[in-house]
Symmetry: D3
Subunit: 281 residues, 6 copies
């Protein structure tokens, strides 16, 4: 539990409770991947287990936020409080809905007050793609927790973050291990989806690094020459796009959609020119 | 250009134009990563270049959608059309805003009509985290394009998708190559962020696989034993959570937030019991 | 499990998985109310318990949706399929992201594809207000499940809905019982929040039914005469609003916000009239 | 009108203008319920009348916000202002769009700047469910106004809030009275919808309190024994869930959705094992 | 009232009830402009009056939608209905929340089911900017109504649309008249805001048409030569951007944000190169 | 580049990067209008060119924001910083996601943290409507930049804003010139869409100014008498609405939607009255 209340920090902590890359997101993401999975066994059990753990982290963070808000000045009228600019400053940085809407409780929103959204969840049914998505979520999440660690001196809060950092270390490693295992078992490989027939993609550009902007330094990278990570091609290098795709003609949809098209105007303008001429004569 | 109009397919194609993991997203994501980058050179040039290429794909898809909508029946009154259930069925599957709002044009929305959102963009300033996010986006994106490939027989559309599939192959490989290069150069390593001092995380659980749910098969994975992918620890295994974190006491925030707390009730109930007793006497 | 696949029905079922008033909402709502609660004991345990049950319902629905999608035609190219208007019609009514994004899996969205939002959750810290919110959620939820029941003949689906309907019956009753218990224990009463001092509200209009529109029949209701449900006042009746609040003067904010105000114009117009006059002379 | 400008408070007041449970919400909610109603008479007139009154409250709040913003420092450059930390603190707590976007005017957003959303509106066509939703909205709304009352000392603002508190008292009572009247007239009863045939729900669990989590205190409540509020059943008590629903087999959707399934892997792995063996020999 | 039910058309009509540019939007937009206005008199009265009229249109559309939904097949189980592909097709095109959520009622959403958003409203406090925004809204709105007119043969619906088209004609004309009147009275002129001192803008590029893309035909327009509409400058023409803004150096924020910067890497790489050398020796 | 860091101002600047009316919006809006256009030539080239320029402004603003954030205190623990209320005040006004999520980088959000939304984009296919929408966007945009100009003293920032103000002057003029040119060429005229047959609108009210609210001053405007701006009608004036549209009967949808209707109640109430009577006898 925190050493002392801190409503401004409570707001910041909302990011790892209800933000794009954090506990509600990973709990729901691993849940949906588990419920939609096509194979029984270790991957399914892994997803179920970590989902359950992450729901525990949601609770841990929600309770910490409520503790941080408990005795904090939240803009409630009190002459001493109001006349102290330092306190006023603290009030300036709070999530004002913590007081007005939740009565000093946690909320399913991020640190800027945006409600958590189902659009944060990725669950495609392709496990290699999804495990990479999970590794990505754990990386962004651990990065945010590490940043938050330096924004407080509170021992109770730091203890909790220290625990979350360790679990994020575990989960990053674990999704990467799982992604490797999938590939080792030939269940899936790069490029995802690997069982889409290579013959159906336009292979001349499948491993070609094409420079579309001014910076030439990009040619120095390992993505511009040598074997590609998928082991199925060799990177080549093209200093500028050479294909100028032929532009299709503009569309002329049904006139009852009242778009602006050239045809009626030409007719009309001709007619009006004729009329003008007749009038003058 | 498409062989023929197909308003239902135009709607589906919106997913890879304006959905969570597609062309507007990657164009903006690589753009924001480039604008916020902290180092000059090859990574910056790479981000700029691919961002520019992806904006080209946005245009390519928008134009294809407009072509697919050009002559398609879109529910405009016409006796022949209305009495044909097959045509009516087609209408059932369209994005009705294509006709009503855009006059047969593309829109910055996904295949269910949700507007594209800035929350899809990831740009954290940590390049390893962000390159993993980019690899993830290209995997989910290529998967969606591969699915869309089988939902049409149109040669023009398939040609375009075939091209996009090849570029997604390239981009998946490239972000993975870039992530490896970052690690080879010691710019960053696992777990992200690697320069957060390990001493500050609760290391006893940093490599511990803890079973939180029923499925035991997860213990068979490479994430439950052996060296972790970050090379900094050894996975251990725990068959059930052993730490029962002590529950903090419930909070009692300022009474002017009018939450329900036990204290006032006890007072009130005692008072009312006393009153009751007095009344009866 | 369902008798047979039905992708159109799978889409409809999303409403009670990821819509405003359904399983994810109630699971999260009861969770946040439990984490933020100010008192230990029966109400806290109740909230925890029902939250856990509702997470179970989330899983139940997600799996049913995946089963319904398993073998369903989802617009994948196939001559027989495409030429059959009935099948095409079915495709018209699906959530196209089920196939393109989730690979035939459930998603955290409602039946029109809107992602689930944290803004659906209510947790104010005042238990009477929140239990009423819970009763409301269970009523709207049961109503939607009842409607869905008649939209399918599938025995497996109906069995699941029949189970959910029974639990919603239980939960409606239970939140109403809990709301009554809170009042019986004097923890809270109507109007919420009951411990806001009545002296601070403008009591002359606290129980006054004022007619603001044409319909006179509203005067016949029990809300227009007799004792109010809170037992603290008597309803009175006013056939039309009688107070015409004095209109404040329009605001004149800082001119550097460049709003349109009368003052500068008058000056300018006078100046320009003078100039005009001078020019003419 | 307010005694003096207060841009920080103006922001807080946005919650009851444009938040989830406030004036725009109730005005629109009662409006949609009125427009969709299936019966003429007192309920319809009630909905129309209160909707009209609530639109008046929207105006009242919007104008008060504009007055509070009129002369407030809003971060506009001015040496005296900038060097005063108290003023700077005030600026810290404002809605910066008040100045930049609205030129010191009210906006249709909540106190954290989230735009008002049509998803806040409930109008199901079932009047008992909807009147409960209305009572819920008035409770949450009055709670928020009561909290805001203590966040200011301004007499003009408190006068307005005092008036709104009184009307919320009226409206809470009124929707509860209306809900009772509906039940007294047998138009609808608990559980909602009451005319769904009870025979079609899985009645063995309709009144069963099942403990899904650790807290045993919940068994003490009136929701665990005795007659249920709907008068149609008797609460029973079950100390733990006893039904372990049989898990359905994982799904195997169309392979052209490129999900990860066990089948191809087994085939592939066998093939590759055979190849390996052959190579070694 | 409509000749007959049509649930598919009811969904389309939602666009002009709850979409970006329609009745709820204009009603709320004119309302907020009126409540925030800085001057009394004709402009204020105009805004109030049209706002009131538009709320009437909201009601008109909501009721029409409810009528269109009244007897329409909405996917409710019925063997005859289900086996008729034409009916199934109709079901494919409906807003399924009309039945499940609203019980055959109108909803505050657009034709793709997106909830109406407060972000659609424009009210800046600058009347010329806002009247242009109003004219824009009426143009997009009338365009959508005109498109909808051709998507039905129903006499009742067409009568209503015919009325709305006429009012949109009036309102387009009126906002343009009001914008002209503001300019005639010197209350505001182009460019908005006209009282921002011209000396503070970078005037060399204030009237310069610069070609940033390939198309040269744009040089033929009246925007490339001659007097500008604001009467304050002469358009000039530049065939390509000539200023290459100097690129700022990449940022190096606080290292506790754990971004990727070159510095630590160079140090680390040098150290590791030294170590490598030592090891080899 | 800025004279010095200013995280509070960086947040404000987000409004013109990722807000409703600013650089991402106009870049995408002109892009979609260009991709969907129905005619080749000058209008198309104009749209492409300005879209490209606006993408350049997006980059300019993103980089400026990153520079402003570079060395700014962002709530990172540091005793000196924390104990200084002025610094704390600054922290109060920042976008906390700038530090936590983006590591001191720009984000695709507005100044209150709302993610940029595809719903901000207007592209209808009707060029006159769209050019008016573009003029509107440039007006609101320039107004916001002008307001931001006075919220800082930083020379580097003011230089950039001064440049943007000049380009907004150009673009306002240019879209108005383009709108006039379209009309001069008879491609489109008022009211939009001008080629919708006038005979199909309810012409008696097409030019009638009807007073719907109390303010009589609106009758003084040029919108109440004289020729309408479209040159196709004469404004007339009506002091109050005279048509009282006949109210349709309430709807009675399918009873399986469980709405509240009068019929079943009457039956039920009669039955129950009969039963009551029988019981009593």
């Amino acid at each position: 539990m925190p050493d002392q209340p801190d409503a401004v920090y409570a707001r910041k902590l909302q990011e790892v409770l209800g933000g794009q890359y954090d506990e509600i997101t990973v709990a729901m993401q691993y849940g949906f991947q588990a419920w939609n999975i096509h194979i029984p066994g270790k991957y399914k059990d892994l997803l179920y287990g970590i989902a359950a753990e992450e729901f525990g982290h949601v609770e841990m963070l929600a309770k910490m936020i409520a503790q941080l808000l408990e005795k904090s000045p939240m803009g409630i009228t009190d002459k001493d409080v109001q006349s102290d600019p330092a306190v006023a400053a603290i009030i300036g940085g709070t999530d004002v809905q913590h007081a007005i809407v939740a009565g000093a409780g946690a909320r399913p929103v991020d640190s800027m007050g945006n409600p958590w959204s189902g659009s944060y969840v990725t669950a495609s049914g392709n496990l290699l793609a999804d495990f990479m998505s999970n590794a990505n979520a754990e990386m962004q999440g651990r990065l945010q927790v590490a940043r938050l660690y330096h924004m407080t001196d509170d021992h109770g809060v730091r203890d909790m973050l220290s625990f979350l950092l360790a679990r994020d270390t575990m989960h990053q490693n674990q999704w990467i291990a799982a992604a490797r295992e999938l590939q080792a078992e030939n269940a899936e490989s790069l490029p995802v989806p690997s069982n889409f027939p290579q013959s159906k993609e336009h292979t001349p550009v499948s491993y070609q690094y094409i420079i579309f902007s001014d910076g030439a330094a990009a040619a120095e990278g390992t993505w511009a020459k040598g074997e590609a990570p998928d082991g199925k091609g060799e990177f080549t290098y093209l200093s500028a796009p050479d294909t100028s795709a032929p532009m299709p003609a503009p569309t002329h949809p049904d006139s009852r959609l009242f778009g602006t098209t050239e045809l009626p105007n030409i007719v009309e303008k001709t007619a009006s020119a004729v009329q003008d001429k007749l009038h003058k004569e």
